[in-house]
């Protein structure tokens, strides 16, 4: 739906107005749909992607204005005459499907990049490189038709001869005997960023005023690791956790860059009277654009800007959604970088208004010892009760913090893993 004025609302639906009616809209932009005997040309508005503006109005059109894709997080590990790259698998929806990845390679930061198609894989080894020369890489995501839909931030590495004792990570390169990892990306301005190694907290840092963070972990042994990162906004709301498996090589620093933590999100009402506004708010990167998804019978998307502190707020008029249970989630865009959607929060549109209570940053579930964390202690408690008859003391805990089915099974561990804080 196209709405003139300041509204930026889109629904994948049939819709009408006093002067027109569109039935069965097709998600196909101009020149994407062709065959030997026809070509679908785009028109302003519905199938086209983009923003049309004039002095008195802005038009943000159609479904493809809101497709979901996040920029991949990329790791670069230098070797002898090569750089091993791996990146996070990207999921896309609402008109986009990930068809594959391209790696762009350059010897100058910022490019131009020489692109190579890789297919639908999440790792590549760039070989025949000159030792001692820094290389710069980006990963470009393509849709099913081969059109670029997202490009990662640049990651660099400098190959070093194996006799030199290891490669250097990042642009600095150089030989080193340390084994470790550099993690960098966007959190929230001046907020806490927590790093987990294999599920346990190893470091906490504070993002800068521009929301950027960078942290180095060294002294690790070679092997397969699962690093995870989450942020905490100024109201102690936690972001969803970003996890990244990576293999560390002896004597090499691996760079993982382009981490973009999803926005935090909350609502001011647990239940809202149908027709009244509900406020959706949270924090993300400064001056970014936040896309809020409201999951109803029809999924609704709206866009709102974040201020200099990364704070965003959107008043949703509930007349446009039906009564019942809903959930909302958000992602952010700054420059060419796009975060994944974050954790969803639930609300209800009904016959009364009930204000939401702050959970003070405590996980909704999985916290068995009520310390506002889900970590090794909670795992150990659950592991003890796994496949055992529950005690009278533990039954109410299982009901409120786990699946509530009166036993501890794999589903309860899955709930715990989802709400994990380390």
């Amino acid at each position: 739906m196209t709405v003139f004025g300041i509204v930026t609302l889109s629904r994948a639906d049939e819709y009408t107005a006093s002067g027109f009616k569109i039935l069965d809209p097709v998600l196909a932009p101009a020149s994407f749909s062709t065959s030997t005997d026809f070509q679908l040309l785009g028109s302003l508005g519905e199938p086209g992607v983009g923003l049309s503006t004039a002095v008195s109005f802005g038009l943000q059109s159609a479904f493809l204005y809101f497709p979901v894709v996040a920029t991949p997080v990329v790791s670069a590990t230098p070797g002898d005459g090569l750089v091993a790259l791996s990146w996070s698998a990207v999921t896309a929806s609402l008109g986009w499907t990930v068809g594959g990845y391209n790696v762009g390679q350059a010897t100058v930061s910022g490019g131009p990049y020489n692109y190579t198609s890789l297919g639908n894989v999440t790792s590549a080894s760039q070989s025949s490189l000159t030792n001692g020369t820094p290389y710069y890489f980006v990963i470009r995501v393509e849709d099913a038709l081969g059109y670029p839909i997202a490009t990662s931030t640049e990651v660099s590495a400098m190959p070093v001869a194996s006799s030199g004792g290891g490669g250097g990570g990042g642009g600095g390169g150089g030989t080193t005997t340390a084994t470790g990892v550099n993690l960098s990306g966007h959190g929230y301005p001046l907020s806490k960023v927590t790093i987990l190694k294999d599920g346990q907290i190893v470091a906490v840092t504070i993002a800068g005023p521009d929301a950027k963070f960078e942290i180095s972990l060294t002294g690790l042994s070679a092997g397969q690791y699962l690093f995870a990162v989450y942020g905490e906004d100024k109201e102690k709301r936690r972001s969803s956790m970003f996890t990244f498996p990576v293999y560390l090589t002896t004597g090499v620093i691996t760079n993982i860059s382009g981490i973009f933590l999803a926005p935090t999100i909350d609502v001011d009402k647990r239940e809202v009277l149908h027709g009244e506004n509900i406020t959706i708010f949270g924090q993300t990167v400064s001056s970014s654009t936040v896309t809020i998804a409201i999951n109803s019978n029809q999924e609704i998307f709206v866009k709102t800007p974040a201020d200099k502190e990364g704070l965003y707020l959107y008043n949703l008029d509930t007349t446009i959604i039906e009564k019942g249970d809903h959930m909302t989630k958000a992602k952010a865009t700054v420059g060419n970088e796009i975060s994944p959607f974050g954790t969803a929060v639930n609300f209800r549109v009904g016959n009364q208004t009930i204000l939401a209570e702050s959970n003070r940053g405590c996980p909704l579930r999985g916290d068995l010892n009520s310390d506002c964390r889900v970590n090794l202690i909670d795992f150990s408690i659950a592991a003890y009760w796994y496949r055992r008859p529950l005690s009278v003391n533990f039954i109410p805990r299982e009901k409120t913090s786990l699946s509530g089915d009166g036993r501890v099974d794999l589903i309860d561990f899955s709930i715990m893993a989802y709400y994990w804080t380390g």
Binding site: A89, T91, V98, N120, V121, T122, L196, D198, G199, Q200, S221, A222, G223, Q224, Y225, L226, A228, Y230, M241, F242, T243, P245, R365, L368, N369, L376, I377, F379, S380, I381, A383, Y384, W385, Y386, S391, N393, F394, R397, S403, L410, I411, D412, F413, S414, I415, M416, A417, Y418, Y419, W420, G422
Partner: protein
């Protein structure tokens, strides 16, 4: 050494192509010992974020289970560590925060295991109760699908590195051990994987008893230091020391220190007063 690689995949369950995970075995023979076959179990999540995997591999009688290698596993928290019992290999593990692999990729490594027998008999391996749960906060079960993989070549390396440093956590909870104090612990071994943990209360040299986390302390007064060692599947050991001291001991020690400090101040003041008095006497 000439190696023969045989890639096998098994369809365990066939469901709708929507939201399916693909489980793959890859096999390499002619390893360290003749007749031993290394098998790697991978899971292609088809781009979906998952956080729990569990199952049971049934091994035919013609194949002899030898050892398990889980150091590289993406399953960092074992609910049931992979183990052989009665020609079966059971496992259940969790990925804190979840993880995914790209669609049609080689997938996430769950673990490897070594068996002895003829390569051709591997096709008799089967899987029961395979469970893959989505990282969606609800534990939604993911369906599984089969596919062939042609590019896996697992290898086995000698493990001489002990498990990583770890710090057991002291805890107490009304729902556990009648609110007695316990220790929770976990570490990783990036090569062969952690095999088991042992504890000794009070003595660094044992005797050692095998334990699992959580471990209820025998000495609930928490006056005794506890030593926990992690042993990997190659026998390498990492020792963690838990220094325990009850709060009132700390309080007593603190009180004694304060008293000693006050006494020293009083003594210094006394000396100064005596010196001052002597100098005053000499002047007069």
């Amino acid at each position: 050494m000439k190696k023969t690689f045989l890639i096998l995949s098994f369809w365990f369950l066939v469901f709708s192509p929507v939201q399916a995970a693909v489980i793959n075995f890859s096999v390499a023979d002619n390893l360290l010992t003749a007749g031993e076959i290394l098998v790697a179990l991978n899971l292609d999540t088809e781009g979906q974020d998952i956080n729990v995997v569990a199952g049971e591999i049934v091994i035919p009688a013609s194949l002899k289970p030898i050892r398990i290698l889980d150091g590289d596993s993406v399953l960092k928290f074992w609910i049931e560590p992979p183990q052989f019992a009665d020609q079966r290999l059971t496992f259940a593990g969790m990925i804190p925060g979840g993880s995914s692999s790209a669609r049609d990729s080689e997938g996430l490594l769950l673990f490897k295991f070594v068996i002895q027998g003829k390569l051709a008999e591997l096709t008799q391996l089967s899987m029961n109760n395979l469970t893959v749960l989505l990282n969606d906060g609800e534990g939604t079960k993911l369906k599984t699908q089969m596919a062939w993989r042609q590019n896996l070549s697992p290898k086995e390396e000698l493990d001489t590195i002990p498990p990583e440093n770890f710090a057991p956590v002291l805890g107490r909870d009304p729902s556990l051990f009648n609110n007695d104090w316990f220790l929770a612990f976990l570490t990783q071994d990036k090569q062969s994987g952690v095999d088991y943990y042992e504890v000794s209360e009070g003595q660094t040299d044992g005797p050692w008893s095998r334990i699992k986390s959580p471990y209820r302390l025998h000495d609930q007064s928490r006056r005794t230091n506890v030593y926990i060692r992690a042993v990997d599947r190659s026998g390498n050991i990492r020792l963690a020391t838990v220094i325990l001291r009850p709060w009132y001991i700390t309080l007593v020690y603190g009180g004694i220190l304060i008293i000693v400090f006050i006494f020293i101040l009083w003594f210094i003041r006394l000396i100064f007063r005596k010196l001052f008095w002597r100098s005053q006497s000499l002047v007069s």
